[in-house]
Subunit: 710 residues, 2 copies
């Protein structure tokens, strides 16, 4: 008896909690079973970021996985590896964390639930894992119940939770004010399914009263429904709200499975949020063997004139198209079809002249005449058949002769079975015709009817399209898809998404002037955005008298976006003739790199301004960009990031002193300077303005002669 008693004392009698610290010790995470419920809390330098928050699941037709747990085992480990992304904001990324794996067993049901925590120097990631086990094989999630118990009524930069769209302007408010502002926030969209007056999307950006920045998102969203957050406006507890399918089920699961990672990034420094690599680090390395065909792309496109209403996607004006039955060769051209041979050649010439590698062409294919969205049309496009005035072969060869490629466009109209039926043929068509990148779209409600853009079903489809594209060495830029969650580490041919309110909305009523001072803190946390900036003419009625919209930006800020809105895919979105009117400003777009060795944040305040400095990959040039909100502000930066002892030529493209996004958007200055690492710049930014700077090594000493020194 005595011996047994001694042995028992040597073991922890009841393991109820476990602490985890980040490598540098700043963060500490405490996992704790409270009354059998799994909880976690997160502190930064002793200050709570996340108060004790519960974890778990409600299941369909099964007891929940919320309580009655005991800890079977815990284990900790450390990981520290530096890896090189194929493309990105940094040439090298350090993946350094301490990990805690908690193995739980639910006593009454004998079911196992593991939770894995990874604590980085800038934040936390955690996910659930369902190991192979005797008492759980298939189950259906009714709701994931992951809480994020915030410490107060934080300032929040949010868009309405919605199963079908993220194309909303951001609202900035306290958490408690969200419900009262929700109705106004829900502006019209071709497909939208808001679900709650307290429901919001991720990545969610917050700022506490004491100046701590917090960001909540998810990483590695694979075979699972997209996570939204439901806000409790009294307790400031946020809870996960997954996207349901038509039957209200939120996930079809089969063990062994892991969920996506839930991430909490936090810092006193807003720039740390922007530069965090947590999302990418929580995704798996790629298994693609050959990635030589994946390259960042700078492109122009036959697109903006249709978006503005100046031209049409459609070729003719039949009221009802049936592919394979409607004979377009017999129809009367409407005279406004932009994707025609002459215009595309014009764009190819412009691209070749100015160093753009690809030309997107929308409206090249049959089917745009009638309700290509809005009427639940199943067989809407075939992705193969061009209009009579778009000569695929001639344009392919013409582009090739100019050293340019066309960029494919696959508008699916949300008719996803139809897209999958054609996908192999459509991709092969691309290969046969020298296309290696496709912009895909999912405008309108999803078919199969009842599914939404962000449910498990569609999450599965988006990845299917990317994986299949890789078989054909095709890069994918998916618009209206679920917002990214770092998947491009594993699938580097996913080079872009829109999945937020982009530049097109400037032509659909305008974006808020501070929109691009928020997007890097929200939409870009998960991955790059094909924001398609570079608009030089802001008055939409100049392109289409019937369009009263305004691009709420100055030209200088449009240039800055090539630096502040990171993307390996960058479009100069305006019409060539508009660029030809401002070739001096256009020069920045031509010069700016699209792949980076180093990225820094010089200034950042979500909703107010962001200023980045980035060094191009494989070269010595730097580029700086600042996006400014609706307030006139002064930016103060230094150039200490430059190599010491070197002299560079900096060209500063800035707002003219009287510039204003609405009243005088086209007023800009271009000034050339001689700069070194000791230089400083104080630059006024107009409302809705900003500046862009290219910093290049001079080709010879003469180039710097006569230049003012910064």
């Amino acid at each position: 008896m005595k011996k047994t008693f001694l042995v028992l004392l040597l073991f922890p009698i009841l393991l109820l909690s476990q602490e985890l610290k980040s490598p540098n010790g700043d963060f500490s995470m405490l996992f704790e079973l409270k009354d059998g419920k799994p909880t976690y809390q997160l502190n930064l330098k002793g200050n709570p970021i996340i108060k004790p928050s519960t974890l778990g699941f409600e299941l369909v037709d099964m007891p929940s996985l919320l309580s009655d747990f005991e800890i079977k085992n815990t284990s900790t480990s450390t990981f520290d590896e530096t890896w090189e992304p194929l493309w990105g904001e940094q040439a090298k990324i350090r993946n350094h964390y301490n990990e805690l794996l908690v193995e739980l067993s639910q006593k009454s049901s004998d079911r196992l639930l593991h939770i894995r925590f990874r604590l980085f120097d800038d934040g936390l990631g955690f996910r659930y894992e369902f190991p192979q086990q005797p008492n759980l094989t298939y189950f259906v999630i009714k709701e994931e119940k992951s809480q994020f118990a915030l410490t107060g009524d934080h300032k929040t930069f949010w868009i309405p939770g919605d199963y079908d769209t993220q194309e909303y302007n951001y609202t900035t408010s306290k958490l408690s004010e969200i419900a009262g502002l929700m109705e106004d926030a829900i502006t019209p969209n071709a497909s939208q399914t808001p679900f709650s007056k307290n429901g919001i999307q991720t990545a969610l950006m917050l700022k506490t009263d004491n100046g701590t920045y917090i960001n909540i998102h998810e990483a590695a969203l694979i075979e699972y429904a997209c996570m939204h957050l439901e806000v409790n406006p009294d307790t400031f507890v946020l809870e996960s709200h997954l996207t349901p399918d038509v039957q209200g089920n939120k996930g079809y699961m089969q063990v062994p499975r892991a969920t996506p990672w839930r991430t909490v990034i936090a810092s006193k420094n807003a720039g740390d949020i922007l530069l965090s690599s947590i999302t990418l680090n929580l995704n798996e390395p790629t298994t693609y063997e050959d990635t030589s065909w994946i390259k960042p792309v700078k492109y122009i496109g036959v697109w903006w004139e249709m978006i503005t209403g100046k031209s049409s996607w459609s070729y003719t004006d039949v009221p009802s198209v049936q592919l394979g039955k409607t004979d377009f060769s017999k129809s009367t051209p409407n005279g406004t079809h932009a994707a025609n041979n002459e215009k595309v050649k014009r764009y190819i010439d412009f691209a070749a002249e100015h160093g753009f590698s690809q030309v997107l062409v929308e409206g090249w294919n049959e089917g745009w005449e009638d309700y290509w969205f809005g009427k639940s049309k199943d067989f809407v496009f075939d992705f193969l058949t061009p209009y009579p005035d778009f000569d695929v072969t001639m344009l392919r060869d013409y582009a090739k002769s100019k050293g340019v490629q066309l960029m494919m466009h696959h508008e699916t109209s949300g008719s996803v079975r139809n897209y999958e039926r054609f996908m192999d043929k459509a991709y092969q068509f691309m290969v046969d015709n020298n296309y290696n990148s496709v912009k895909s779209g999912y405008v309108g409600n999803i078919i199969p009817r009842g599914e939404t853009h962000y449910g498990q079903w569609m999450v599965n489809h988006y990845l299917y399209a990317v994986e299949k594209a890789a078989e054909y060495k095709i890069m994918v830029n998916a618009h209206e898809a679920v917002r990214p969650t770092g998947l491009s580490r594993t699938y580097p041919n996913l080079i872009g998404n829109e999945s937020a309110r982009g530049t097109e909305y400037e032509a659909f009523g305008g974006n808020t002037p501070d929109h691009t001072t928020i997007l890097p803190f929200t939409r870009l946390i998960g991955g790059p955005m094909d924001y398609t900036p570079g608009i030089f003419v802001m008055d939409m009625s100049k392109l289409n008298p019937g369009n009263k919209s305004w691009v709420n930006s100055t030209i200088a800020r449009q240039l800055a976006l090539y630096v502040t809105m990171y993307s390996p895919l960058q479009m100069a979105a305006d019409l060539p003739e508009h660029y030809e009117q401002h070739l001096d400003a256009f020069q920045f777009i031509k010069d700016v790199a699209i792949d980076w060795d180093t990225s820094l944040v010089l200034e950042a305040e979500p909703g107010d301004y962001v200023t980045y400095a980035r060094k191009e990959k494989g070269g010595n040039n730097w580029f700086v960009g600042r996006s400014n909100d609706e307030e006139p502000r002064t930016s103060k930066i230094d150039f200490s990031f430059l190599d010491k002892g070197k002299t560079y030529i900096a060209i500063v493209y800035s707002d003219a002193s009287n510039a204003h996004y609405r009243n005088n958007p086209q007023a800009y200055n271009i000034k050339k300077y001689r700069v070194t690492s000791k230089s400083k710049l104080t630059q006024a930014c107009a409302p809705g303005g900003g500046y862009a700077i290219s910093i290049m090594e001079p080709k010879d000493k003469n180039e710097t002669k006569g230049l003012k020194r910064l």
Copy 2:
């Protein structure tokens, strides 16, 4: 004024009705606008079959198309053509009808609705057409409102209306009794969605008190939802009830479009219903250029032993399979996997020995271990990866060396996106491995979740699978699919469906002994059924002690089914060893043809008995078969269908005098006779019994020596 008045009189002042007669004048159909509502009525030899019945549609978010019509135009025409089906019950089919096209316009909405009627000598077909028109392009059907106003409380042979299955035993009752019997009629199924206590399926068989047989079905179900019928038990009016999608919508339509045909076949002679070619005639001729690869198939299969529970589809016993992750080469075989190399070779040998051209093998491919249905598993099969004990190449070559082919099996488990993703590769795999026919299955609820087996979505899929199969020269036999509607005229590689309660249910609890005396009047009206008969051992506990089921049939009736259940695809479904115990009876299965020059009905009473005589295509042999219900009956037939002046050898396989489907099913007699066109036969049939007769020209005079004359 006078002149105008005269002119007006020359034209019908208001066209309100139009009569149509069948070519032989027996049928007359009257179309009439009553209070602006389109109606039709049908008489046979002056007696009403269908009383005035309304037509039209309820639409979603649009005014209905039910009333307020005027007739814009009517036109009549005649059609008379004889065509030759690639395979079928007759070598030549006459398509002879008088047609009336009524062009309606709805006054308030200026929308056009055309109704086309075709009146044959054995019944009526009508369909709606929506021509290209300015005020209707896209619309969504809320409900089709086609009525069939019957003249009384007819005797009805029905199964429950259900969006997901037809695998019910038939109930015979009056129309008014249906609701009271519905609950008992709805027996369990892997996927079922009954919708109304008065809802029933088509093809619907009826018999009036004065002995008129009536059959209601549809033809050419393409891009539309399957039609059920809702019975009004007080008025005996049946109304169309389409299968809804998950949102309750019943059809997504884009003009110009036609609906399927609704058919009413009627006769005083039950055999006329069985032999009607209306369904096929209302389908379009095929546009397939090369059909040489389409041939009827007589096959055996590694299948019945799994259905009975004697063996398993699965290879091992893991609780949870993830394709591509579960390594079957490392798992322990469960010892009951039937689709293994040795057994398949045994079946190939048996097929070669006995003249069967194909061997179906189910359970050849990875994925059967866990919930291949019932848990909404998306990526459930890949249709490509065999189990470790199924050597695709070896068995392909072994079969080829024996002059036999394997028949592919694609169980989709209702996971239809998954099937479509693999379909091209799966069909190519078949081509590469010498398979030219596939049995496909849709067991379980459909994924996309919310869709059902009979909605427009799945109707589209089934045809997609058939059309794509034709690209690979593959024949399709789709189980659990929507019941056929004559599509095999247009798509002759659709050689079979199950789509009703087949022989497998004998092992799942048994079919009613009269089941096969009803199926020809219902399920077979739309096309052949892969009924898979030929069971010789009726006591399922002999194969699997745990299975208490009984095949409710005598052996003689099992033989008869090869004649009474027309199909170009016929399986000898039992185990080879059971046939080897009764090679004398098995001889009929070997001899019976599977493609026909002429088919006749000698005796028929739905629910009681059917007797067919058929002449093989390309030969002089005849085959007769009788299926008998649970009553002992005496069949009296003559052989006047034989060529006059010829002598044949008839082998009659009949029930022994004390045979009984339950008490003594294996008791049969085989008697050989000499017969001519003057012969007659009086033959006792046991309960659940019947007989089969092969009638062949003797090879030489000696063969008839000593044979008794009939």
